[in-house]
Amino acid sequence: MKIIIERDQLMQSIQNVMKAISPKTTIPILSGIKIEATQEEVKLTGSDSDITIESIIPKEEEGIVYIHDVNPGKVVVQAKFLPDIIRKLPESEVEISSDDDLNLTIRSGKAEFKLNGQDPEEYPQLPVLQTENHFDLQIDLLKTLIRQTNFAVSTSETRPILTGVNFKLENNNLELVATDSHRLASRKIEMDKQEDSISFNNIVIPGKSLTELNKILDDGQETVQVSVSDNQILFKTKYVYFLSRLLDGNYPDTSRLIPDQSKTEVKVNAKELIQTIDRASLLAKDNRNNIVKLVTQENDVLEITSNSPEIGTAEELLQTKSITGEELKISFNAKYMIDALRAIDAEEIKIQFTGAMRPFIIQPVEEEQHILQLITPVRTY
């Protein structure tokens, strides 16, 4: 194999596939990047067996040549040093070649590196996903969906299924749900009419996969094709294939968790609420649940307080747009509230409470987007 390739394009691809490579892998071959060169393109692959990322560098795009010379072939090269080597090469063109004994040479200008390669035949074959079960999404929309839900996945392995985001597609509605059993984030969108209307409801994508996917995808109007099989999901853009394992098990039915009535409703400016809670929680960071207390008062005022037994107390009054229904005193984790408000990203939000020991709902007042955040309070003794 031999390629002469633009360094910047190569670097970009290496950085993409590096996101899938784990330094702690137990499968030695997966500590490497697979490089495959054909006459049309160079493809890099990285994998930790949960996530596999393929990044493609086309020979040329819109008249700009990325690959200057190709002698087809493939090789696996140790990923540990590759990014630094390529980044620090002196010239903008890089020559990579490998011989039959898997000795790899990287040349640029007068610099030359010789690395030991590994046998590409040992690299696990990627399952070929049948792409019948697929739908398209705009990339920036997908990124928003991830941002609005993925933060709420569980970081604890107590219930592994909760470490992922549940994707449901029914009646042309795509819904994402994530919960760590203390709070829940849900976002729903209506899909464009797809030619083959497909549906699924028990697809659970590991939160970690979505975090990496979000990093790799560039904001933009382009679309990503999402293909789903029983145990894997493939996100495919023009030059990046992102394949993730799905979580085993049944995602709990979360629709029943969402209260269908409310006893107290507060409408308030989201930014002001975030700032107030952020201030109040300064002193609460030390206590284990980062607790702030919210009390409704006369004249649509909310009192927000926190105290740390040995440090002190914080108290602030916040003028809301309106408070209707019963009086309420409730304690909750400040971080959950701030996360939820940031995810909603609306100017004005409404919070619906059904009592101090029951989960409450946060939604934008203007329901142009179907987003719902649910937080379970903290019980103080």
Binding site: S156, S181, H182, I291, M357, V378
Partner: protein
């Protein structure tokens, strides 16, 4: 620093004295209180002075005690009685001054500096001793000194019913001639080490080189050296009672065992005991630890960090037994222990409710609300959770009574 007057009040053979107060027929007779007379660890917990005169000692196996004193009367401990007696003793002490620090069920320090401005300290001690004897029929010894260490040493000097004043200028005649093993803070192992340095009396220690002691015993060496010179700047701290970090119970099995049913039962009992004590102290735990001692005395402890507070015997048992099953090497077991660590008082505790099972808490919400309203109206003190049952007593309750003492004060 201001000169202080510290009392150390030490009850004389406390458990035996309480039994004698309950049943005056026992007075003047050799009496021993022993854990479990039938089982192999039946050892003397305490004995009356009459029994001690025959050579009966604390921690001596019962058979040996009988050998020395054939007419020995042996009783099982009645912790309920001792606890009650202890409470009454500390009530008397705290009527003299609020600065009382209970150290265990039968001894405590008092700072009487203020009180003694008008009364002679020795007379005050006499008054205390008389009241405890007259009102409770219990003997005690009192040490009077300028600090805790000397007061403690002083109360030991004359028993029973002694009152001893230990002044700093008297150290060379009263304290220093004592054998090193008698010094408070010197255990058997430390005694052994000090003797290797040819330090046989407290005086030897007081004159020894600090660096040498530090090398031998670390910080403790330095501390002992300071104490032996009659210095101790620790205050009498009435709140020291609250400095508990864990609650643990352990129990030796009657026979070394590998019988899992027996072990399960044991863990159930231990968990219940730990839970009882947690309830008494009104605390919840976030970390459960177990101890396994094998037939060959090899001992391991294993713990588990929890995500939520636990406060039920069942939960403690589940975790303890899980830990056991994970770590048991199948060898015969002599002793098992369960300890609840990382304790938080209920007032400071909070619980993040769970979406999938908050209902259990939510059902009680109206009750909580009512309680809250009442508290707002009448103040925090109007409600007190009913202790479901009076905690059962066990041998390791020694420190728990202290909480009761605080609670009832």
């Amino acid at each position: 620093m201001k000169r202080r007057i510290i009392f150390h009040v030490d009850m004389n053979s406390f458990y035996a004295s309480v039994e004698m107060a309950y049943n005056p027929d026992l007075k003047g007779k050799p009496l021993a209180i022993a854990g479990n007379p039938e089982e192999r660890k039946g050892i003397v917990v305490t004995s009356s002075y009459e029994a001690r005169a025959k050579g009966v000692k604390t921690t001596m196996p019962l058979w040996q005690a009988y050998d020395l004193c054939p007419n020995l009367i042996v009783m099982r401990p009645n912790f309920e009685r001792y606890k009650e007696a202890s409470r009454l003793i500390f009530t008397i002490l705290s009527e003299i001054t609020p600065i009382v620090q209970p150290v265990s069920i039968d001894e405590g320090f008092m700072d009487v500096t203020e009180v003694s401005k008008n009364v002679d300290a020795r007379e005050l001690a006499q008054t205390i001793q008389n009241r405890i004897l007259d009102e409770l029929d219990l003997p005690c010894s009192i040490g009077i000194a300028p600090n805790k260490f000397l007061a403690k040493m002083a109360s030991d000097m004359k028993k029973p019913q002694g009152i001893t004043v230990l002044r700093k200028r008297e150290l060379h005649e009263k304290l220093w001639p004592l054998p090193i093993g008698e010094m408070y803070g010197v255990g058997a192992k430390t005694e052994e080490k000090l003797k290797q340095l040819n330090l046989f009396t407290i005086g030897d220690l007081a004159k020894a080189n600090v660096m040498t002691l530090k090398q031998l015993l670390g910080v403790n060496g330095e501390r002992l050296h300071i104490r032996s010179n009659g210095e101790d700047d620790r205050e009498v701290d009435p709140d020291a009672v609250y400095d508990f970090k864990s609650i643990g119970n352990s129990k030796t099995l009657p026979f070394d065992t590998t019988d899992e049913a027996e072990i399960m039962r044991m863990f159930k009992t231990l968990s219940e005991k730990v839970h009882e004590r947690m309830k008494t102290k009104k605390v919840v735990s976030e970390n459960i630890q177990i101890m396994i001692r094998y037939h060959n005395r090899k001992t391991i402890t294993r713990g588990k960090q929890l995500r939520d507070y636990i406060d039920s015997a069942e939960a403690i048992y589940q975790i303890a037994f899980d830990l056991f099953q994970t770590h048991w090497n199948q060898e015969p077991i002599r002793l098992l222990g369960v300890t609840a660590q990382q304790l938080t008082t209920l007032e400071d505790a909070s619980k993040q409710l769970d979406l999938f099972n908050y209902e259990a808490e939510a059902e009680k919400e109206t009750l909580y609300q009512a309680v809250e309203k009442m508290k707002e109206k009448y103040g925090d003190r109007i409600f007190k959770k009913l202790d479901q049952s009076e905690p059962k007593m066990s041998t390791s309750f020694q420190k728990d009574f202290l909480m009761d003492y605080k609670k009832k004060k």
